[in-house]
């Protein structure tokens, strides 16, 4: 009859990599096939045909429906992985709201819990790292903006928060140097009363920086900042001495 004819044609189109036509036909017949033996396969191919065309919003829904309805299907693992990938494809640039990125991360992590030994696990882990790095980059960029705007106090605070939250991020080294530099400039601009205390914080930041990144590419500049801090502190303490 009509349904099985269309389904057959859809599979042929799919084989010939004509995914648009395949998905059009599958959209028509999949719901009508509910309950037949072929329904499982039809649903999976419909999801995949949309995925391969780049319709990630649709493929996300169809893959998810598929693996909740047929969790034991031989396609279930692939469906779950491709659902995560559909979300990954929707993850926007790091400068925009990252809600889709977080959803994608959750999907990959769920995949790894369900199929820890899958041959796709390696790829999933790689993507996860990429997505986490994207989130790191976003936070780092926001903190660094204050540095660019020359709001030194805000830069020092924001970079400090960044380092507390992402100590092992690939951006931590640059953040640690910028935190030191921002704190130094912040102290320079401060009223004399507050300077000593703020230079001391800069010293702590320098210490932390050289301890964590002894071979940093920012080493030279950091040392220059350190010299500046020392000179400034020496001057402050000298003016204090005659009074005591």
């Amino acid at each position: 009859n009509d349904v099985s004819k269309k389904y057959k044609a859809a599979l042929e189109y799919y084989e010939q990599e004509e995914y648009y036509r395949a998905s059009q036909l599958l959209d028509q017949v999949t719901d009508l096939m509910a309950g037949t033996e072929e329904a499982e396969k039809a649903q999976f191919f419909r999801a995949k045909a949309h995925f391969l065309q780049g319709n990630y919003i649709l493929s996300d829904t169809y893959f998810r429906n598929f693996y909740t309805t047929y969790p034991r299907s031989p396609y279930a693992e692939e469906a779950m992985f491709l659902q995560a990938q559909s979300l990954y494809e929707q993850s926007p640039s790091y400068e925009e709201d990252q809600k889709p990125t977080i959803t994608a991360i959750e999907a990959y992590e769920e995949f790894l819990v369900r199929y820890p030994t899958s041959e796709r696990a390696e790829r999933a882990n790689k993507v996860l790292e990429e997505l986490y790095t994207k989130l790191d980059r976003k936070d780092f960029n926001q903190a660094r903006l204050y540095y660019k705007l020359r709001y030194w106090r805000s830069a020092a605070v924001a970079l400090d928060v960044f380092l507390q939250e992402h100590a092992s991020s690939p951006f931590a080294e640059e953040a640690a140097f910028l935190r030191l530099d921002a704190q130094y400039r912040f102290a320079q601009e401060s009223v004399p009363d507050k300077q000593e205390e703020r230079y001391d914080v800069a010293l702590d930041y320098f210490q932390a920086f050289v301890d964590t990144y002894p071979e940093s590419r920012y080493k030279r500049e950091a040392e220059r900042v350190f010299d500046g801090v020392q000179t400034a502190l020496a001057a402050i303490r000298k003016t204090k001495q005659p009074n005591s």
Binding site: A34, G35, T36, T69, R72, E96, N141, K148, A156, V161
Partner: protein, 825 residues
Amino acid sequence: SQVLNRPAQPSPIDYQQPRQYRIGEIKVSGYKFLDPIALTSLTGLKEGDMITVPGEDVSRAIQNLWDQGILGDVDVTARTEGEVIYLTFNLTERPRLSNFRFSGINKSQAETLRDKVTLQKGRIVTDAVLNSTRNVVREYYVDKSYLNVKVNITQRPDSILPNSVVLNIHVDKGDKVKVGDIEFVGNEAFKDKKLQRQLKNTKEKRFYKLFTSSKFNRTKFEEDKEALITFYNSQGYRDATIVSDSVYRISEDRLGIRITVDEGQQYFYRDIVWTGNYLYDDDYLARVLGISKGDVYDQVELEKRLTYNPAGIDVSALYQNDGYLFSSITPVEMRVEGDSIDLEMRVQEGPQATINKILISGNDKTSDHVILREIRTLPGQKYSRDDLIRTRNELAALGYFDPETIGLNPIPNPADGTVDIAYSVTERPNDQISLSGGWGGPIGAVGTVGLSLNNFSTRKMLDLSEWKPIPTGDGQRLSLNVQANGKAYQSYSFSFTEPWLGGRKPNSLSVSLFKTIYRRDPRIYNPYIEVDDVNELSRLNVDGAAISLGRRLNWPDNYFYMNHSLSYNRYTLKDYGLFSIVQDGKMTTFDNGVSNSISIVNTLGRSSIDNPTFPRRGSTFSLSMNLTPPYSLFSDRKDNFEYIEFNKWMFDASYFINVAGNLVFNTRAHFGFVGTYGSGEVGPFERFKLGGSGLGGGNIFVGTEYIGLRGYDDESVINSNNDRQLLQAGGIAYNKFVFEARQLISPNPAATIYGLAFVEAGNNFGSYKDYNPFKLYRSAGVGARIFMAAFGLLGFDYAWRLDDLPGGMNDKRGMFHFIIGQQIR
């Protein structure tokens, strides 16, 4: 004995201990019309699968079957043989819905209800489905005041489809029931009329109350009762209660409401003492609170003065603006004697909160840094509520987000005395595309293609994946506009603005270019005229370029800004009678030649409005001076045309105040003056034309300032005795005053709508000798505006002229004006 010795057969499944089984067989029983194989596969289980019992596998299978919506009941029985389990799904089929129809109501209501009810064809019909349908229909009519509505649903088998039913939903609306009478019992301090006014959504039906709804709505009535008590409390009746209320039938279509109140006694403030305050002394706090001994005890007002007073400063703002986010003020009634109440204000100042982190969400298009750089709450600073509110205004002013849904959410971390601030935004489309064709008066048919992108990103232009459909998010503005009707008229313009040049400071840079060609083609008027060479037609070309720099200032306060721009315009005329005016007995004309205008515009302004589309509070003012070099001071000039010389001063001020709810008053004043440096005549350029909608419908090629004055024809207002030439040339000094009352009707960001009523007055003068700021032409009227993201602001006004123009066409007094775009003046 068998009963006593149960289980006679060992229970197949031990529900205490989940066990793994292999499925030996899956059976389906109880089916009549459905296919058993299809049903088996829908369970998601297969013979040979390993499942855990008890476990989620079987319950998911049942859920899967349920989800199809085609079964009345599903349960499972199981039999085990060692490791193997045999499952039987016992189904009950129910008739499925094949169609439904309404009777007793008209077609359009049936259409509306069809969308409201959740009936789905192909799904089974259960009591729950019938009940919810009945409720939806009932509520729909009750809401329309048909309190006596009866809904009757009947089923009958479908004659064509097996196992299917058709539903008929019969509605008997009955009469509309309205509130006929509201009476109060036990009220002595206030009259019934006064109390009735407090019930905002429950009103009596009266023939003269044309626009008042007198529907009865139970939930709204309950809210109104609370409002009544709030009203009593606000008048010092702290103990007022509603003893009872009854809603009864007066007649078939009228309800009566009787509310019995116990007013209690009226209370007054006596002594107010402050405790726990170290930062501010008692006197100061008392002054900010603004309540003194003997005032009526009003808890609502007290709460407002303590926590949030939109009209001015409140006590908690004192603390919150200085970082004391964790502060609290609790008024405690210490003594109640007779009608006097002593209050103790318990202040807990707490530590100052420092801002730690700024979180942004909802920006699906706009880059973080574009938002973050506008945010006034900076990490490391003390928390301040004012900064938060200011930030909301700044974000609204960007125009990328829906101003009504900008979220500000401080998340305090009392453990370390810091606060994170989460901002949430909703992007709204703000690119405008115009594609239009129209009749442009003397020019004939004109086609326009326009594109203005208000959140463009040149940085992302090289990244192909960002073209969806255009790279956005960096807050740059780009606009392109082409207008043409073939050879006779062509106009091209381009402009680009970077709001944060260099990314470090909010200094904006704009560049714009334009070119206009206009040939006065006689064939428009007489198609039989032969024209050999279009270049021989009389024509006017205008070419120009401008570059401008804008800066935000921190002094006198940080609402100030300054703008500098340099512009060059060149006008090329051939037999084009642009300007002719007789002044002081001398005829000045300009028909042929090239005219150059180089000028510098400096603008100083201040803007503190809270929302660009519908401002509720705040003000704007700007003073701009537009100067050309003073050629006449250095050389003897024979005319003012080759190098145009003028100085032009413009002043605009606008003030918004939120009077009540969504009602806003706007007062504006505008002035403009053009002059020369020497004693020479003011040239044809940069003059003022006053009247109408101010859109500049006529000669749009020459630098002319068009200013609206509703109630008068476009460009018709000039203070002269019917001097046609002066009217055509334009005035050199104008002033205009406007008062507008605006009422927001729909705050929906896709289409913000407001209505307005205005009175305005203005005049335009041809020479400084005549200038008199008090001699004004007045008008009044009403209108409406709609702001749509894709089109900008559109509107119309109906205005009534109150004065006669000297020598003008003074026959009709009322006229319509169509308004396009946001107008400053």
